[in-house]
Amino acid sequence: MLHMSTHVQTQTDSIAPRHRLRLQGSADRMHIAGKIGLVTSPPIPDRKAWTNEMAAIRDDRDQQAFAALFAHFAPRIKGFLMRSGAHPDLAEECAQEVMATLWHKAHLFDPAKASVATWIFSIARNRMIDKIRKQRRPEPQELPWGPDAEPDQADALAMAQDTERLGQALAALPEKQRRLIERAYFGDLSHSEIAAETGLPLGTIKSRIRLALDRLRHAMN
């Protein structure tokens, strides 16, 4: 199984300065590619964790960190919304709003329960339902301990690694199967058409989140 593959090196706080260098590079690449219209994903999958930037926004209102996240995620959010059927102008506007929400709600981000990409995806999806489909989105009740609980560093790192493996497993799926999953998330399939059996290591992530929830509930009682 894919989730039993060799250890995946996930970037951590200890190599923060290198982030800046890589960011510079990917921002330039995006700028050049941007001139020809669509920005394609970099040839080497760029799956860094982005948790340092989130912490810098939360703690220091760091605009440079925000600019780096923006350069990476905003074009992807826009591309995702366009693939989901949004007009480019509306997709642009929503992508900006999603990034503004990321700034305002940075204190609610919990790296032990979601990666940065996961969290941004959920904000973008909800924005799409609200603004593009004009529907109401019922969201589950907030957990009783709130966002103030200090996330465990080991949990956060493990979550980043599991998410990294999920991304690799998705990329390694046979083309046909991968396209089906993409179409589901672009809203091209109704919920009844979605094949639940994906062969992806989703159970690993589920178990990780479940453990974190159990631990926090235990600590509460």
Binding site: A74, K105, A114, P138, L202, L213
Partner: protein, 214 residues
């Protein structure tokens, strides 16, 4: 938390993550997840898959001044609503938002046979309602033209398949005809969503159907 026996299906969880579920079904999913850590964790996994899909999506070029525009938006400081903590009561917050309060705020309407209902307002398509079934009472025998999701919020009911208690979800489809009976004790309160009118097997409920909106 640990007593929940009947969970959401993979298709419902994935439909909720992709945002393709009708609103009435999403309300059932969000309310169940509020009560169930297992399904909350699954939701996190399906959201992670969404994040992976988004990460791999070809980016679309943002306008030249997009970052500056976004920073101006941030400076204007519209943070949007902050999630509310649960203020007590038996309904989880997503359901309280639809009811406009807890159990005591529900405007019940008599359905016959001692059963009451309250239709909740959602965007067209599938409908969602609260049901109140006194202990020991049966819901009229019915089948389904589509999918019916029933989430228990108080008390319990039994049908031919199993027992459903607090937090349990029953997913009934076309093949299924059943006659749920509330267990003795307090009223059984359920949240039920359906994407097609139910098929009642007796003449009286069938005649009343147009008036009850089921």
């Amino acid at each position: 938390m640990t007593s929940i026996q009947h969970h959401l299906t993979d298709a419902l969880l994935m439909g909720y993550a992709t945002g393709t579920l009708p609103e009435a079904f999403s309300l059932i999913v969000a309310t169940h997840i509020s009560l169930c850590d297992e399904c909350r964790a699954w939701m996190g996994a399906y959201d992670a898959l969404g994040g992976a899909v988004m990460t791999d999506t070809d980016g679309a070029r943002m306008t030249d001044d997009s970052l500056a525009t976004t920073l101006e938006m941030i400076a204007r400081g519209d943070a949007g609503p902050t999630p509310k903590p649960h203020s007590g009561g038996i309904f989880p917050t997503p359901l309280q938002d639809y009811v406009g309060g807890d159990l005591d705020a529900v405007k019940w309407r008599w359905m016959g046979g001692g059963v009451s209902q309250a239709l909740l307002k959602t965007d067209g398509g599938p409908t969602v309602r609260l049901l109140r079934i006194p202990g020991g009472t049966a819901v009229p025998d019915h089948g389904h033209r589509g999918t019916e999701l029933t989430l228990v919020l108080q008390g319990a009911f039994r049908d031919e398949t199993s027992r459903f208690g607090l937090g349990d979800v029953e997913v009934a489809n076309q093949d299924m005809s059943h006659r749920p009976v509330a267990e003795d004790g307090p009223d059984c309160i359920c949240l039920a969503a359906t994407d097609a009118p139910l098929k009642f097997n007796a003449i009286m409920p069938r005649l009343a159907q147009p008036f009850l909106g089921i």
